[in-house]
Structure formats: C-alpha cells, structure tokens
C-alpha cells in the first residue's frame, strides 16, 4: 500500500521537485497550489502525511495547518513544513500552528524523504 502525500506549494518549481522526489521514493502524491486548495482536496486526498510551504497566496501555511488540525479526521496527520527560513523563529511559528516537523530548503530529496519517514509509520 503506497503512502499518500499531500503537498501544498505555490511554486511550480517546488511542486515539480516534490512530485519527482516523492514518486521516485514510491509515494503517491497529491498536489495543491495553496492553503485553500489544500483544504479543499484534503478529504479526497486522504493523505498519510502532508508537506506544506509557508508563504502562499490566499491562505498561507500557518492557516492551512490550522485548518487541517481543526478537521477531526485529519488533525493527527503529520504535517511537515517546507521553509527556507532555517532560523528558530519560523520553526516556532510553524510548530505553534501545529506542524509536526519541518524541512529546511534548499530543497534536498534525501532530507525530504528522511523527514517523511521519520513521522510516518
């Protein structure tokens, strides 16, 4: 059974990188372009783990995480935050919003897969 990953990122570049990396690692990948779309597809995507960006139009990563955590069915889904900010402040904010963990950009496939495996059974 393939694990399903929902990725939320407004950058086409990053979306493609996530897609390639996750597919190569044997995940099933569902993609959304911002927080609003992420919440819209949440039910149908039924993800085992979520990877989200922070800076996005319409609804940012913090708002998106908050939305997921409010959903009774998905509030315990691990959420990893993609962030270029490696400093403690961004991590704190993501964590406060309910993020499970984070992946510091620049984007690195190994780091991504490691982080996902760390939070999924």
């Amino acid at each position: 059974m393939k694990k399903r990953v929902l990725t939320v990122d407004d950058s086409r570049t990053i979306r493609n990188m996530l897609l390639v990396t996750l597919n190569n690692a044997g995940f099933e990948t569902i993609q959304a372009e911002d927080g609003v779309e992420g919440l819209e597809v949440l039910e149908s995507a039924n993800p085992d783990v979520i990877v989200t960006d922070i800076n996005m139009p319409r609804l940012d990563g913090f708002g998106f995480i908050e939305g997921v955590r409010k959903n009774d069915r998905y509030r315990a889904v691990p959420i990893l935050v993609l962030t270029t900010e490696s400093d403690a402040e961004k991590k704190n904010r993501a964590r406060q919003a309910g993020a499970t963990g984070w992946i510091v950009k620049p984007f690195d496939p190994t780091k991504l897969i490691d982080a996902i495996e760390r939070v999924t059974a």
């Binding site: 315990a76 691990p78 963990g101």
Partner: protein, 760 residues
C-alpha cells in the same frame, strides 16, 4: 521529468514572478497599500529564492535573500514604502531579473550594481531612508527596526541545519551508553508526532533497551484519550554522539521533556536493565542546548530563540504585532479545541480572501501542442478549400445538400481556426511591463523624470507577435525618452509638468492590434529633420514636403537628429530598423507629431502570424502571394506612363510622380527578359524607408487568406521568398518577401541575410 526540465520550469516561473514583482511594486508606487499586494511582492522574491536555492544558484539566492528581508520590513509595517524606497526596490527588481537571466543563459551581471543595491536594501532594512545620490551606509541602527547586522562584503547565506551539527560533531568511534528519559506532552500527539516513531528512530542509532513508565496512567473513566501519560526510560549504546540522539527528537523537542545523560564511555553499561526510579526533571540541570524546560511553551520559545539567534528573536518580537502571528498562535491553541471563535473568524477571513482572488481557471499547455493543433487546423482549412473547389468543378446538377453541407463545413472550419488562434493569443502585458524598466533606465541615464502610463495591457495578440514586439518597442521607448521628452528645466520653461509622460496603449481595431506610443515632449523638430535630410541627400534642398512627409523621414535608414550620438539611442539602431521589424510582422507604423505637444507613434499589427491576407498573383506562370499589408494600390500601366531610365531601369509615372518599376519575374529569375509592363499589372508597394515601388506581375487572381507555412522549416530559405502556402487547388504558392525584392531591384543581389523573413 528530470532536473533540467524542472530547471526550465523554474526559469519560466521566475519570469512570471518577476513580472508579478514589478507590477506589485508599481502598484505600491501608485499608493496601493493593500497588504495582499505587499504579500504578493514578497512571495515573488521568496519563490525565486526558494527555487534558486534548490539549484544552487548562490548569487541569486543571496540577492533575493537581502531583498526579501527588506520586503519583510515593509510587510510587517516597519518600513513605509514611499517613493524613495520603491525606487530602490524597482532597481533591485531589475537586478534580480539580470541575475536570473545570468543564471539561465550564463554571462555576467553588473556586480558593482548588485553590491550597491544590496547595501541600499540593507540600509532600508536597518531603518535608514535612502539618500539620493549619496547612498552611504550609516552605522546607526534605528531602535524601531533592529535588523540584521551585516558585514560590508555583502550577505553570506547562513545555512543552519541540524545535519551540520551532526557533521561538526566529531564522530565518537567508541560506543557510549546514554540514559534517555523521554516524557511526551499531550501537544506532541496533537501535532501529529508519534512517540513510537521517535523510539523507532532512536533504536536505529544503536543497541537499545527500553522501559515504559505507566505510573501516571489514570483509571479508565478519568482518562483523556488524547493526553500523554506514558514516559520512557531508554538505555542506548551508540557510536553516534548526543547530538544524533537529540536530532531524533528535533521535531518534538518543545513538546516533550527529554533528558539525555552519558552514563559511561565503555560498553559495560549496555544491556543492563535500568532500575525503575522516578527521574527528577530538574530544569536547572539541563544544559543550555536543551530547549524544553518551561511550563509555558510560548515564553520558553522566546527564550530559546533569543539564545539561538538574537536577530530572529528581535524579528519575531517585531512580528508579534502582525496579524499573521496572531493567527499562528490561534492555530497553536486550536487543534484540540474544535470550535474556537477566533479560528472561525480567521477561517472566514480566508474564505473571503478566496472569494476575492478566485480567478478564472486556466490550464498550462505545452506550446508545441498548440502549434501542432494550429498546423492541423491549417491543413483542415486547405483541405476544405480543395474539397469545395472540386465539388464546384464536378457539380453539374447542383445537388444543393452537398453545397449546403460544404458551406456549413466552411463556416465551421473558419470558426475552429479562429478559436485555435485564440489559444495562442496572449495579453501584451508582459511586454508592456518590460518597458517600465526601460523607461526607468533611460530616465536615470538622461536625468529626465518620466512616468510610463500603460493602457490596454490585457489586449490579446498572438504569442509570436508579442515576442517580436519587444525589440522595436524598446527602441521606440528609448527614442521617446531620449529625443522626444525635454529635460525637466526645458519642460518647466515651456510651462509643462517637469515630469514627462510616456503613454503606451494597446487596443483592437478591425481585426488588428493597434499599439500607440505617445510622449508629451517637444514633438518633431521639422526644420531640423528637413535640414538633416537635405544634408544626407535624402531629399532635394527645394523639395516641397508636407509635415507628414517630413515626419516620416525619420524612418529613413541612417537618420538621426540627435546632435551627438548618445549612449542610449546611438546603438546603431535607427527608426528605420523599427519600421522594418514592424513591417516584417505584417504591420505598419505611422507618426503624428505636434510641435510642443509631443509625438505619437501608431503601430498596427496583425493578430496572428499564422495566417495572412494576401493577393494571389501570377508571374511567369507561377502563382505567388503578395502580403496585402504591403500593397498600397494596384494599377494597369499604360504605355505612356512607362519611361526608360538608364540601361535597363524603368519608371512608371503615377499622378505626376515617378516610381521605379520592378519586374518580379526578372528578380526571381522566372524569366530571362523583362516582361512588357503594359501586359501586366503593377502593384504599388511601400518598402523599407517608406519609398514606393511598382512591382510588375502578370495578372491578379484574387485576394485570399492563406495559411503560412515556413519554408525554412520544410525546405530551406529562399531569397526573396518569405514563406509558402498551399492553395485551394492543392498547389504550393510562394509568399513574396516584398522588402527583399525591392532591395534586390536596387542593384543588390538577393542574399539570404538581406531578406527579412516575415514568418518565424
């Protein structure tokens, strides 16, 4: 998809983000204070930085980072985006574009310029206002905006990652035994972490024995299923250091109590069963690196971030004021409390935002696919025409049902063709946006103050037309600012606003796109133009020219009225080249000028380059197509109007003026001797430089819209021929390159480099 393709996507995305960035900055410049505008600008730079980081484009990353930091100050209301600030930002956007281009195409950038802008951006982030002309960095830091301390060599990206921690840790070859006490808090589970997974990760570090402390587990009826009651005591024998152990708990470190103690450096402790005893979680015993020691998580975070990085702590303190963080904090409390009013409010806000920015859905399609479709539709049109023709030829008894069906088919094909062409249609916006940078640069160079006003940016035209529009437009804008507008002093003296206005508009008019470029400068100095034309032997000293004719002289090759060749306009490109490139697009350009009030250049272009309105003519039994846009009029020459001139030249007199007669058949070597003009038809065409020529052809077959087929792509370039097409009867007809034919008639031979391909 491989990395190269993703990189290609990245650069495409960069272009979009750069356009977004520029239009956002221009909106701010016009006084727009919508937070979403600022956010969009920030995101644009942020996205570029993110992608650039993934590809290791360090120059781009470091510049984008500094830019982003300054934009963040604007976003959090620490920096007022006034005109001076925006000037720096617009120039930074230009540099960012340069860096992006350099990253894609190779080549260098103006490093001094980017270094200078980095300094200016940092100064802004430090709360200093820009000082025009003297961008000196004061060392004083405004208290309101404690911002990054930066060294003068420019920014160095600081990559902070726990991996590096591990790397810098000297690997402990000898396995050591650690005693770990891990007590998760309820928050750990609420955030989707799982103690089991953490323990699994931990077990991968070495030999581990584990004991679960279940003492705190209450009776079932009192138990909150989502609370944390268990804690674990672990004995781990590992070669990796303490940092490796802590990094396992990286995501959980705030939501658990964690105690890691080195028990022994040798292996003797391993496997030993730990005595079960309560471990005192004495906060003061933890070393500085261990962050989890407060009851109040939030207070604790502040402390931690201050210890780790005073800069970010300051930034965080400042950002606390912003709504974003409040939302984030709400979110932090929300997970387990299902119906919080505050969260509902922010969700409603998000929904409102969603409604506001709900755009029309679009899809992204590979251009090749669209081109293939266009090609196929072109074939369909040809096929339909052939079918119609053969039906008409064979239709002796007039079966009307076939004719009616054919008519419907014809209409449908026409509609399909129009719809397909519409797919390629794009708004001229990107080109217009590029022009604002050109205006800024030239305004800077010339010391003029210029405002660019654009209208009709959403007017759509075929993508190939857009691509080819940038160059002539750039040159015309340069001219408008350099030659058209006066210096601020002269403008004030003339009673005008010292700031000049250049207005760029696009609109559709009768199946063509009309682009106007207007300046409110001095207008064309007709005396000067006339004198120059006389000096250059373009016109006779006593020539009687209308104002319009004088204005059009500036389109002559090698014509420049600037007294000295300036850096801007003197790039070896004149208005003649502009006119030629417009004509190569099947367009026309006109000028209207009023002394003291400015000039307007009006360009009229076809909406697509895939089809062309042409006149089908016969020359020496060959069928040719002449682009209709080139033809001024057609006439049947009379013997009395033909005059010989020189050895083989002939002129035709049309309404008392003489016009060289060009035998197309001779030029293209269709025949060895000149045809008799009286037996043919003359097409009066306007060629480069505005001069008129009469092209001799044998007969006119009719007018028709033809689908352009590139000769280069299917065969090879033929001098004098722009492209080919397939006619209704299935025969191939060549489309004439009028400019090349005219140039050849001036005694030059047809050379490939001399001809202007009218199609891509």
């Amino acid at each position: 998809m491989d990395m190269n393709e993703i990189k290609e996507i990245f650069f495409q995305e960069c272009e979009e983000q750069l356009a977004e960035l520029e239009s956002g900055l221009l909106k701010l410049n016009d006084g727009d204070r919508d937070p979403e505008t600022v956010n969009a600008v920030f995101r644009a730079v942020h996205s570029i930085k993110g992608g650039a980081g993934a590809f290791g484009l360090d120059d781009l990353v470091s510049f984008a980072h500094v830019f982003e930091t300054t934009l963040d100050c604007v976003r959090s209301n620490r920096l007022e985006p006034n005109q001076d600030v925006l000037k720096v930002m617009l120039r930074s956007a230009d540099v960012l574009a340069d860096l992006t281009n350099a990253a894609r195409d190779g080549g260098g950038v103006d490093e001094a310029r980017s270094r200078q802008l980095i300094k200016e951006l940092e100064a802004l982030a430090n709360g200093e206002m820009p000082q025009p002309g003297a961008p000196e960095i004061a060392k004083a830091v405004a208290p309101a905006a404690p911002a990054p301390a930066v060294n003068d060599d420019g920014f160095q990206p600081v990559a902070f990652s726990f991996d590096e921690f591990e790397a810098s840790e000297p690997p402990a070859i000898e396995p050591s035994t650690y005693e770990i006490v891990f007590s998760p808090k309820s928050e750990l589970y609420a955030k989707g972490n799982d103690a089991t997974l953490l323990l699994r990760d931990l077990s991968r570090l070495g030999e581990m024995s584990i004991r679960c402390d279940m003492d705190r587990l209450p009776a079932l009826e009192e138990m909150n299923p989502e609370a944390a009651y268990f804690s674990w005591e672990i004995s781990l024998k590992t070669e990796k250091g303490e940092e490796a152990i802590r990094s396992v708990f990286e995501f959980a470190e705030w939501d658990c109590d964690l105690d890691v103690t080195l028990v022994s450096g040798d292996a003797s402790g391993a496997g030993e069963e730990l005595p079960m005893h309560p471990v005192p979680f004495d906060l003061s015993l933890l070393d500085e690196e261990a962050p989890s020691r407060g009851e109040s998580a939030e207070e604790d975070e502040e402390m931690v971030s201050q210890q780790r990085d005073p800069r970010s702590a300051a930034a965080s303190a400042a950002a606390t004021a912003s709504n974003v963080l409040q939302m984030a904090q709400t979110a932090a409390r929300a997970p387990l409390e299902n119906a919080k009013v505050a969260s509902t409010a922010s969700a409603a806000q998000a929904a409102a935002q969603q409604a506001a920015s709900a755009a029309q859905p679009t899809i992204r399609v590979d251009l090749d696919r669209v081109d293939r479709l266009i090609n196929l539709v072109g074939e369909l049109v040809i096929n339909q025409a052939m079918l119609s023709q053969s039906v008409i030829e064979n239709d002796t008894n007039g079966t009307s049902s076939i004719n009616m069906g054919l008519e419907e088919l014809q209409q449908l094909t026409r509609e399909i063709q129009d719809s397909v062409m519409a797919i390629r249609a794009q708004p001229v916006k990107p080109v217009f946006q590029r022009m604002s940078r050109i205006v800024r640069e030239i305004a800077d160079m010339t010391g003029k103050s210029v405002r660019l006003v654009t209208e009709g940016e959403n007017t759509e035209v075929d993508k190939t037309v857009i691509d080819k529009l940038a160059e002539p437009l750039t040159h015309m804008i340069r001219n408008a600012v350099d030659h058209g507008l006066e210096t601020p002093e002269k403008r004030v003296a003339a009673g005008k606003n010292p700031e000049g206005t250049v207005r760029l508009t696009a609109k559709h008019r009768s199946g063509r796109i009309v682009i106007e470029l207007a300046d409110d400068g001095a207008g064309i100095n007709r005396e000067k133009v006339r004198q120059k034309a006389i000096d250059n032997d373009l016109i006779a000293a006593d020539a009687n020219l209308s104002d319009e004719e004088i204005d059009n002289l500036i389109f002559h090759a090698g014509f420049s009225t600037a007294d000295k060749i300036s850096d801007i306009s003197g790039r070896g490109v004149g208005m003649d080249v502009v006119k030629r490139s417009i004509q190569a697009l099947g367009g026309r350009i006109n000028i209207q000028s009023k002394p003291g009030q400015g000039s307007v250049f009006i360009m009229s272009l076809p909406l697509t380059l895939a089809v062309l309105d042409g006149m089908v003519v016969t020359v020496a039994n060959q069928t040719l197509v002449v682009p209709l846009t080139a033809i001024v009029e057609t006439l049947q020459p009379e013997a009395s109007a033909i005059h010989s001139f020189g050895a083989s030249q002939r002129l035709i007199s049309i309404r008392n003026s003489f016009c060289p007669l060009v035998d197309v058949g001779r030029i293209l070597n269709f025949r060895a001797t000149q045809a008799n003009p009286v037996e043919g038809v003359a097409l009066l065409v306007e060629s480069e430089g505005g001069g008129q020529r009469a092209l001799m052809v044998d007969a006119i077959q009719g007018q028709r819209q033809v689908v352009i087929k590139s000769l280069e792509a299917n065969y090879t370039h033929v001098p004098g021929i722009a492209a080919a097409t397939i006619l209704g009867d299935g025969r191939v007809a060549l489309i004439l390159d009028v400019d090349a034919i005219v140039a050849a008639s001036r005694g030059q031979t047809l050379k490939p480099e001399m001809t202007l391909a009218a199609t891509g």
